[in-house]
Amino acid sequence: MKKNFTILIITFFVFTNAFAGADGELELSKKSKPVKDCFEPLNRVTFAVNMGLDKIIFKPVAKGYRVLPSPVRAGVSNALDNLSSLVTIPNNVLQGELKKAGVNTGRFVINTTIGIVGIFDVAQNLGFPEYEKEDYGQTLGVMGVGPGCYLVLPVIGPSTVRDTAGSFINILGGDPWYNASVNGNNEYLSDSDYFTSRVLAGIDFRAKNIDSLDNLEKNSMDLYASFRSLYLQDRQQKISNSKETTETMDDGDWEEIDTQ
């Protein structure tokens, strides 16, 4: 029953966004419409709560984590990346990137076995291309589903309606790691393994960004707006799967100021 309800919610989100995006304008074009912040007052409150939690919990923990020796942190980061490839591979397939799916499968097999559950990125040393994470939110974006409104989720942080719907797909069978640990019903893995990996991924991300987030906090006049802008730019770039920054940039305003 709970599963059916979740599926219904996702279907609603996806379809309303698909129609919202299908207004004759390609969302990923350089002239894409700005993402609406329909729930801004509520989002700002959630953002303030998240920043409070960050100050008293996440940042101190991340700082402590950063004290660990660099090889330990690299090993944790590699193992988490390896786990995330279980979501990346099906998304490569759904996006029609079969070659990337093959490469990522090879990377997962090599790193899980020779690399000892992904702690060592052996595949990279063997010359595999740089790993790029994919998720269901990105796949929905590639399929033409618009981002919908901007959302700030408690604890998790910035998102959009589409990306939130994408995250639900993980727990509906889209994430083999979730299936094996939470729904696997086996003696080797349990719920706590999954949640530990999620918490570690959060700490790893926060630890890697301590300096840049401190800098942003110090130099922003409207930190909420800066976070929103950075999140949406990042998603736009990831969905376009482009390494060329210039392909996702809109030069219109720059050209306009040149004529003044």
Binding site: M221, T245, T246
Partner: protein, 197 residues
């Protein structure tokens, strides 16, 4: 007559050579700017002296006026001449403070310039890498260089791991103006308050 001819030839050679001497490729310009900043940061100067030096570098190498106009976005068109003049001054003070305090935190950033790509007659994107340290992973930085005047190249944007600082600033400014009933005065006050912190 011969003297005049020699003089004209001399002038032609001089200006041709001078032009080439002062023109510089965008990647070399970025490398030069980065080296100047790195030299300042690793020098034995006090923090205040470093900030002052960095401000001087920014004034020479960054198109502060252009970035200021860009950051206003569509609100630019609603400003009176007086407001625009006021904005230019307030923005420059804000930008220099923000720029120098961001950089002053780094003790010796090592940036490698890798390549450049001309995107049109006015802009070249220079790609570089901020080398990883023990506490921070490698960071890709792209520089939007305004090349309209080849003898006076200017930086207009920094794109860090695909995220444009100018665009982020523009959206931040827009948010401040919109949440204050579209009034530019709110932005001007925020900018002034930031500069005087």
């Amino acid at each position: 007559m011969k003297k005049i001819f020699t003089f004209v030839v001399f002038l032609l050679i001089f200006f041709n050579t001078a032009n080439k001497a002062f023109s510089i490729e965008a990647d070399a310009f970025v490398q030069q700017t980065v080296s100047r900043a790195a030299k300042t940061l690793s020098s034995g100067l006090t923090k205040e002296e470093r900030i002052q030096k960095l401000k001087e570098i920014a004034k020479e190498a960054v198109d502060i006026r252009g970035i200021g106009f860009y950051s206003l976005g569509s609100h630019r068109k609603n400003l009176t001449k007086e407001q625009l003049e006021n904005y230019k001054d307030v923005f420059e003070a804000y930008f220099l403070k923000s720029f120098s305090s961001r950089l002053a935190e780094y003790s010796n950033p090592e940036i490698e310039v890798n390549s450049q790509k001309k995107i049109n007659k006015n802009y070249t994107i220079v790609s570089s890498t901020l080398v990883a340290t023990n506490t921070r992973p490698e960071v890709k930085i792209e520089w939007r260089v305004y090349t309209k005047d080849p003898e006076n190249l200017l930086i207009r944007d920094l794109i860090i791991e695909g995220l444009s600082l100018a665009r982020t600033q523009k959206e931040e400014f827009s948010s401040i103006i919109n949440s204050n009933d579209g009034k530019i005065e709110a932005l001007l006050k925020n900018l002034s308050d930031f500069s005087s912190k």
